[in-house]
């Protein structure tokens, strides 16, 4: 089993620098893709990209040449509407040709607005309706335990998504079974489609909720690659408990006029906005 990159074993400062640069490039590519497609969920994409890049280039034991390897780590993108972030990351990691990104949501493209595992290598299950990823991930984690396998399951949900009750059914099950091979990452960007999560149905005290369900909980800055690597390196947080990593993020991260704006949930940048966004990202990268 190889990882997607050789940077995994690089000295940490080098790896962190590499992740930062990759995340910047993925952001730019995703912005261009959403702009060209005239559709997408750029706000949530930008909040999740640092986590995705850290996972695929520094954590997951996956091999783009063997996306169906039975021993691969499973990554489940529960917030399937942020397919743009996932596809771009998968393309950079070598799971799909980068050229596919040019046809995001185009007629007959494998890159549907929400991921389809039957068409996109590296996608584990079809998501889109919220609250599906965690129950699925509990199933893969149980499956690994049943077969005595050491591969792990990671699942990324939004925070607003946790309003779906299915998550809490699954949370009880994971806690009850002590699935320490399962890691839930909550993209805590505090915004949902229509408003702030706190103004819609508040989740706090969020960490306490997961602890009460039997999970080991950590919180980290979801845009700090070093902190993310550090947290993922400590898995399992506690033997015999499922892991919950709350990553504090910003919707629209990296583009000043998109950041923390609920309106950018699924707005598409104009030509001028794209130019400004790319210029900001290029300035940070240089």
């Amino acid at each position: 089993m190889t990882t997607t990159t050789t940077q995994r074993d690089a000295p940490r400062p080098e790896l962190v620098a590499r992740l930062r640069q990759l995340a910047n490039e993925v952001r730019q590519r995703d912005l261009k893709m959403v702009h060209a497609a005239g559709a997408g969920h750029i706000g949530g994409d930008l909040s999740a990209i640092d986590v995705l890049v850290t996972l695929y280039f520094g954590v997951l034991q996956v091999d783009p040449a063997r996306p169906d390897d039975p021993c691969r780590d499973r990554f489940v993108m529960s917030k399937g509407h942020c397919s743009g972030a996932l596809y771009t990351t998968l393309a950079f990691a070598g799971f799909i040709p980068r050229g596919w990104l040019d046809r995001y949501m185009a007629p007959l493209s494998p890159l549907n607005g929400h991921p389809d595992r039957t068409k996109v290598p590296g996608v584990e299950t079809n998501t889109g309706p919220l609250g599906h990823g965690l129950p699925f991930a509990v199933g893969t984690a149980i499956g690994a335990k049943l077969s005595g396998a050491s591969w792990r399951t990671f699942v990324l949900t939004g925070d607003g998504e946790l309003q779906e009750g299915s998550n809490w059914e699954a949370a009880m099950n994971a806690g009850h079974r002590g699935l320490d091979n399962l890691t839930l990452i909550i993209d805590r960007n505090r915004l949902q489609q229509g408003d702030a999560v706190a103004n819609t149905v508040d989740l706090e005290p969020l960490a306490d909720k997961w602890r009460a369900f039997g999970w080991a909980v950590r919180e980290v800055d979801g845009h700090d690659h070093e902190a993310l690597l550090e947290a993922f390196g400590q898995l399992p947080f506690e033997a015999g408990r499922p892991n919950c990593l709350i990553v504090h993020t910003h919707k629209g991260k990296g583009v000043s006029f998109m950041q923390d704006q609920a309106g950018w949930h699924h707005r598409v940048p104009t030509d001028e906005e794209l130019e400004r966004a790319l210029a900001e990202l290029q300035e940070v990268a240089s």
């Binding site: 039975p70 129950p135 699925f136 199933g139 499956g143 049943l146 399951t153 299915s166």
Partner: protein
């Protein structure tokens, strides 16, 4: 009176047999060990009985995850809750994602009798057969149940098996071989065709006997597979007999009768009657009483056949 069988027993025994031969077989339940009769499986393979508690969305999601991990999960739960509460998981996680999950709806139709309409599952054909990439099968007797379970196990991909708990006699000979998408001709006939599945098959056979007594030669098709439906058998029936009566323990909206009508009206229009629950929630009553109440009896089917043939009340009066 022939012996009656609860098809859950054949299901559970087959599952145990498969579990002994194949370590990938796991059973996922929603606190339904007893009602699905999988206590024996649990005893023999305790680790491979995954009870998620009363949580149907997670039950189906977990099954899809287990399939991803290389297992062959059988979800066994009351059909009303399995299909009603987890329909989106059935659609997205199982059918759309093409997960190798076998969904087994137990105590379907009005098997729960006087427990009432909350527990009846008379919409499950309509819901499941509307979903792409999902094979829908309602076996009629223990032998067909066993074979359907074995075929579901051996065939990669999503299945929905609809079982009852009501006692049924054996309707198939010992050498019967169930095939997905193939109707079984249980009785040849040239006047009218009776199409049924599940617990209604034995009633359709009894109706054919009644009709034979009055000189009407009825063909009986066991249409166990609702999707993909056997178009050839239906077109032949429409062309070779003078009308079709369908009978199902399901609402007349969207179930077996609708599936038959979709084929017949497009490819070989003929006179039809669709028997089932006529678009209402059932009143209080035991299962057998309810079937009688809705005319889902040998007499009811025979009467509908006479109507189709123009020998009874005028056709076209029923919704």
């Amino acid at each position: 009176m022939s012996a009656l069988f609860d098809c859950r027993d054949a299901f559970a025994q087959t599952l145990e047999s498969l579990g002994a031969d194949d370590e990938r077989v796991v059973v996922v339940v929603n606190d339904s060990v007893g009602s699905s009769k999988v206590g024996g499986f649990k005893k023999r393979f305790p680790d491979r009985l995954v009870n998620v508690g009363i949580a149907e969305q997670t039950m189906v999601g977990v099954a899809a995850g287990l399939a991803n991990a290389g297992m062959v999960p059988f979800v066994a739960a009351a059909s009303c809750f399995l299909t009603g509460r987890a329909l989106e998981q059935i659609k997205a996680d199982v059918a759309y994602a093409d997960a190798n999950v076998k969904l087994v709806g137990i105590s379907s139709g009005m098997a729960y009798g006087a427990l009432g309409a909350t527990h009846h599952s008379i919409e499950d054909f309509a819901w499941t057969r509307a979903i792409a990439n999902l094979t829908v099968v309602a076996p009629a007797d223990p032998l067909e149940t066993e074979q359907a379970v074995r075929i579901a196990h051996a065939t990669r991909g999503p299945f929905f098996l609809r079982l009852s708990r009501m006692g049924v006699p054996a309707v198939h000979a010992a050498d019967y071989r169930f095939e997905v998408g193939k109707a079984a001709v249980l009785r040849q006939g040239s006047d009218v065709t009776l199409v049924a599945n599940g617990v209604m098959v034995t009633r359709a056979l009894a109706a054919a006997e009644l009709l034979a007594g009055t000189g009407i030669d009825a063909r009986v098709l066991n249409m166990a597979t609702v999707r993909p439906i056997d178009r050839d058998a239906l077109i032949a029936a429409a062309q070779e007999t003078r009308g079709i009566v369908t009978a199902e323990e399901h609402t007349v909206y969207g179930g077996l009768g609708s599936a038959v009508a979709e084929v017949v009206c497009q490819h070989a229009p003929t006179r039809m009657r669709i028997l089932g629950v006529p678009g209402v929630f059932a009143p209080t009553g035991e299962t057998a009483w309810l079937l009688e109440h809705f005319g889902l009896t040998a007499e009811g089917i025979a009467e509908a056949a006479r109507e189709v043939l123009g020998a009874g009340a005028p056709a076209g009066g029923r919704p």
